[in-house]
Symmetry: C2
Subunit: 210 residues, 2 copies
């Protein structure tokens, strides 16, 4: 399992080709942001890059393969978020640390929303690859949260009815999804700041117990 970038026929590709592949990925992401998945066409991607459709097929089997590659990149981009969860938050620093975590998560989401959204639907509709890549991303964060909750339960600060793993998943679910609601919520009087503050409070209360 080398992680060199390869073309569809399996050959390791040079720097020029890698640049082309990158431009195709960037164009794919751009179109996903601007028009959504349902109108995504291979032809449009290559037109955006100023190349021919045949070129696309040197690097990807189909449009889904390009989206999957973007979703894999998003896993890498999520990794730094985990730093906010170690060492475990304490009652005295939870306010600032939870806030830093939420800020980072919001920035991450803003940057990758289009791809993550599609990754999630495809995962839920049963695509194995998208499932794997989503699990991988979520587990990074869930693990960190889980550890803190397990500790809180052990020391009696948190109720025993909270299952650490499930709670971790629930909190990740909450953050992710709420950010998807953002646009509509701001129309109804939730500012971005109040979304931030509310998430911080909910995380603090649930994970540290105050």
């Amino acid at each position: 399992m080398s992680n060199k970038v390869r073309s569809v026929d399996g050959r390791v590709i040079g720097s020029r080709a890698q640049a082309t592949r990158r431009r195709l990925l960037d164009a794919t992401e751009k179109l996903l942001k601007e028009q959504g998945v349902f109108d995504l066409r291979v032809v449009d991607i290559t037109r955006e890059v100023g190349t021919s459709a045949a070129t696309f097929y040197q690097y990807f089997n189909d449009a889904d393969a390009a989206i999957l590659a973007l979703a894999e990149e998003a896993v890498e981009a999520e990794r730094p978020l985990v730093d906010h969860l170690h060492p475990a938050w304490t009652p005295s620093d939870v306010a600032t640390r939870a806030q830093a975590f939420v800020d980072a998560y919001m920035a991450y989401w803003d940057a990758h929303a289009a791809v993550l959204r599609i990754r999630n639907v495809k995962a839920e509709e049963g695509d194995r690859n998208f499932r794997a890549v989503r699990s991988q991303a979520n587990l990074l964060v869930i693990d960190g949260i889980q550890a803190m909750i397990a500790d809180g339960v052990a020391t009696g600060r948190l109720p025993r009815t909270l299952d650490p793993f499930t709670t971790g998943a629930a909190l990740v679910a909450m953050i992710e999804r709420l950010l998807g609601f953002q646009n509509e919520m701001t129309k109804r009087g939730s500012s971005r700041d109040s979304i931030r503050d509310t998430l911080v409070t909910l995380l603090s209360r649930t994970m540290v117990g105050n």
Copy 2:
């Protein structure tokens, strides 16, 4: 704005036609469950019903219109959930009432997951109709939760940093999204029951403060 069912050219349709329309909607939902949105074809829908494609176009402008109709029906199906939120939960009855609410929500989600999932992506990708129908559905539940939280904040049971509306949205987000994770979670040791119990605990703590 009569709410009689109409054909594409605007005429009110009779009972025979209504039955056909219904079968088309049912087939659409079935295919969404079985194959997902990305493989949904008008031809397949009509084949499923044993009718011709031309018939489909008497009732819907395109496949999206049928999905939207299903999403509108899902709003109606969500309405009974609100009953669980009135009157407000109290510290003494919160355990059973939160549980009943979560159970009802899980059942609702199980029944409509395929359609709701697509409604959400289309809403987030900017489709005005799907946005409207999602807001409508979410607000039903958010309103009920919001009222309880506002009350908790007013009586000092809950911290003032919780914005009632945003918190309501956050909780709805959490429930909805977590249920989308279910399949993967059960593979990692979260049983359906522990999902249920965790949600109940989180709701109780956040909405009633115990």
